[in-house]
């Protein structure tokens, strides 16, 4: 037996609970309905009272091994079987295996004439027989109010009802009694007066043409219980109540990374893309390429052999596949290979809860590695911001628990001011990318920012987001004096830079040529000078030689003169010297 919230801190006797097995309801009631007592389920027409009661019995019989008796005052056995079969319960087989007994109590006022005192011992006998024949632990009475319509004497009826509930308690069965909701009180005939242990109120409201079912535990004696109104839904698997708070923040995290499918975007996210199991928000104004980015992500994942589930609330699968051809993205091979699954539904098709449940179901059957929702903002049409946030929280918790990476696109209005809902939504997200249109120079260009990326280094740069027939490319945007330059302005800037570069190349070549010329001229000059120098040296040599020859000739001449004068060579030399010194003294 699952008991979650029924512990008493003082060690007292705790109330035994009878698990309903209904998804979410046991969480709210802290384990189920009070065991051995009666629970009143009330609500208006068509809000799922009978269904809740039958699921209580079916799950009791099939999951908890507790046989049950269904006493129907309105529907026949055959009708009941058909009704619950539509919810995936095989009542007939349970009946055959004596796990469930259907007891149709037929009352028709026109066939009954009252002639004095009576009691409802006949009903007691029938109930007793039914309970004992299969050893039932659970009893459903749907709905006792039919007695009020069938039996005229209300005083007797009320006394007998009081006796009935006492009797059921004494019998030790856990009973569920259904009743019609009334305007002023909980039930039309005040059944809550008799059943006071646990009262559950079901409600079916229509807001903006979208119906949502709600469940509330009005009272539950002796135990803690969730007091909120919880949305619930009825689908092919029966009832499921969606307690927003039932999931905690205790999921395991992965440090594995998954590529975005756009190499430059990976580079902006620390080079390796998103964390596995993280939630990513992609916001952008209309036509900024949200779906394309999502499709790139999907394709990259499918190419790695991962399973991708793509929920689209705006386009049909075929339309997305066709549109992606225009950027050279082929998704159909992955769809055929069963790696990529599209699910398209209009947001207004049903309420948020139904969307959520459908998504849960798809996710649990397909077991994807990546889930994409395009766009999450469409769902806001189906509910209020608060409801949508609650839904996204539950969805993200669910996905994170299963380590599924989720990408949500979100459509924003133009301008820079971010919507309040986006801010609220973004706190749930691990990474937030913003796609934006920049207008200028008579054109619109897309840019991409990484606003946040929890747990990883990421680029603070604005990148221009180019969509071509070869896919997505991110290029550096130019930051000029007038702001970020994109598109043709960026092209113009780029062209201007190219021209500048060319000009400077040309100028350098020219300068080089000039220098070359100058060098050549200098070299020529140097050559001239060298030859001039050489000729000067030659001249010098010639002069030196000439001087030497003259000196020799002079000496020879003098010697010849001396010989001719017959003078002694030595005397001649000495007198000559003395003559010179005499001249100096004068």
């Amino acid at each position: 037996m699952r008991i979650n919230g029924a512990r008493t801190p003082f060690g007292g006797v705790r109330l035994h609970k009878c698990p309903t097995g209904i998804q979410g309801l046991d969480e709210i009631t802290g384990g189920g309905f009070p065991r051995g007592r009666a629970t009143l389920v009330c609500g208006g027409a068509g809000c799922g009272k009978t269904l809740l009661a039958s699921e209580f019995l079916v799950r009791g019989a099939s999951e908890f091994g507790e046989a049950g008796v269904f006493v129907s005052f309105e529907e026949t056995d055959a009708e009941l079987k058909v009704n619950v079969a539509s919810l995936g319960f095989d009542l007939a087989s349970l009946v055959k295996r004596k796990k469930i007994l259907l007891e149709h109590v037929y009352i028709e006022r026109s066939e009954i004439h009252e002639t004095g005192e009576y009691d409802l011992e006949g009903l007691f006998v029938r109930l007793n027989l039914a309970i004992d024949s299969i050893g039932a632990k659970r009893v459903v009475l749907d709905t006792l109010e039919a007695l009020f319509a069938g039996l005229p004497n209300e005083a007797i009826l009320r006394a007998e009802l009081r006796r009935l509930f006492r009797w059921l308690k004494a019998k030790g069965v856990t009973a569920v009694i259904t009743a019609e909701r009334d305007r002023e009180q909980l039930t039309r005939h005040g059944l809550e007066e008799y059943v006071s242990d646990c009262v559950i109120l079901l409600d079916h409201r229509v807001n903006d043409q979208i119906a949502t079912r709600h469940l509330r535990v009005v009272k539950y004696r002796g135990t803690l219980h969730g007091t909120n109104e919880f949305p619930f839904l009825i689908n092919a698997d029966g009832l499921s109540v969606l307690p927003i708070t039932s999931l905690g923040l205790s999921h395991k995290v992965s440090s594995e990374r998954v590529s975005t499918g756009i190499p430059r975007l990976d580079a902006m996210l620390g080079g390796r893309g998103f964390f596995r199991g993280s939630s990513i928000l992609l916001t952008g104004t209309p036509g900024t390429g949200k779906t394309i980015t999502a499709a790139c992500f999907a394709q990259a994942a499918a190419r790695r052999g991962e399973r991708v589930l793509f929920f689209s609330f705006e386009e049909s699968p075929d339309q997305i596949i066709r549109n992606m051809h225009s950027i050279g993205l082929r998704l159909e091979p992955f769809v055929e290979a069963g790696l990529l699954r599209f699910r398209s539904a209009r947001p207004t098709l049903y309420g948020l809860e139904m969307h959520l449940a459908t998504m849960f179901k798809e996710i649990s059957t397909f077991k994807p590695d990546i889930v994409i929702m395009d766009p999450i903002t469409s769902l806001m049409v189906a509910g209020t911001d608060c409801e949508t946030k609650g839904m996204v929280t539950r969805l993200i918790d669910y996905l994170k628990a299963g380590q599924v990476t989720s990408l949500f696109t979100s459509l924003t209005h133009g301008g820079h001011a971010l919507q309040q809902s986006e801010i609220a939504m973004s706190s749930l997200m691990d990474s937030w990318l913003l796609l934006q249109d920049l207008e200028g120079n008579g054109e619109r260009n897309r840019v991409l920012y990484v606003i946040k990326a929890r747990g990883m280094a990421h680029s603070n740069q604005v990148r221009e987001f180019l969509i071509s027939n070869r896919g997505i490319d991110l290029v550096d945007a130019y930051i000029g004096p007038s702001g970020v330059l994109t598109g043709s302005a960026r092209m113009a800037q780029s062209a201007r830079e190219k021209a500048d570069l060319l000009a400077s190349h040309q100028k350098a070549a020219l300068d080089k040529r000039d220098l070359e010329h100058k060098r050549e001229a200098l070299e020529r000059q140097i050559g001239g000078l060298r030859s001039e120098y050489a000729s000067s040296a030659e001249e010098l040599q010639r002069l030196e030689d000439q001087v030497g020859t003259q000196t020799r000739l002079l000496t020879n001449q003098r010697t010849e003169l001396g010989r001719l004068r017959h003078a002694d060579a030595s005397v001649a030399n000495g007198s000559g010297a003395n003559r010179n010194s005499k001249h100096k003294k004068r």
Partner: protein
């Protein structure tokens, strides 16, 4: 009292009134009901009735067939259609109306 004959009845057998009284033990209410029933039948259906008393405490399974809730319940099995009268049959007028022995006032 030709009026008392069930309309459309042809054979003698069909003119026999088959009445079944459901009780649960020998409670005062049951005993009162049975004596009231006998009195009414003697007065209005002498020789043409057949009363079967079923005690549900002994044969609880029989409660399903006639869809018995209240005790005591008198069921007119024949002539058709089946009619049910609940209570201790102390209000004779209502019993006669209920059994269609007297048109409703």
């Amino acid at each position: 009292m030709a009026k008392l004959r069930a309309p459309g009845s042809r054979s003698r057998l069909s003119r026999i009134w088959r009445l079944r009284l459901y009780v649960a033990g020998q409670t005062p209410k049951s005993l009162v009901a049975l004596s009231n029933l006998k009195k009414i039948c003697e007065n209005h259906l002498r020789g043409r009735y057949d009363i079967e008393v079923i005690d549900l405490l002994e044969k609880p399974k029989l409660s399903r067939g006639d869809q018995i809730l209240a005790i005591p319940t008198l069921v007119r099995k024949l002539p058709k259609p089946v009619r049910k009268i609940i209570g201790d049959l102390s209000d004779t007028e209502r019993v006669l109306v209920g059994l269609n022995l007297r048109p409703a006032a």
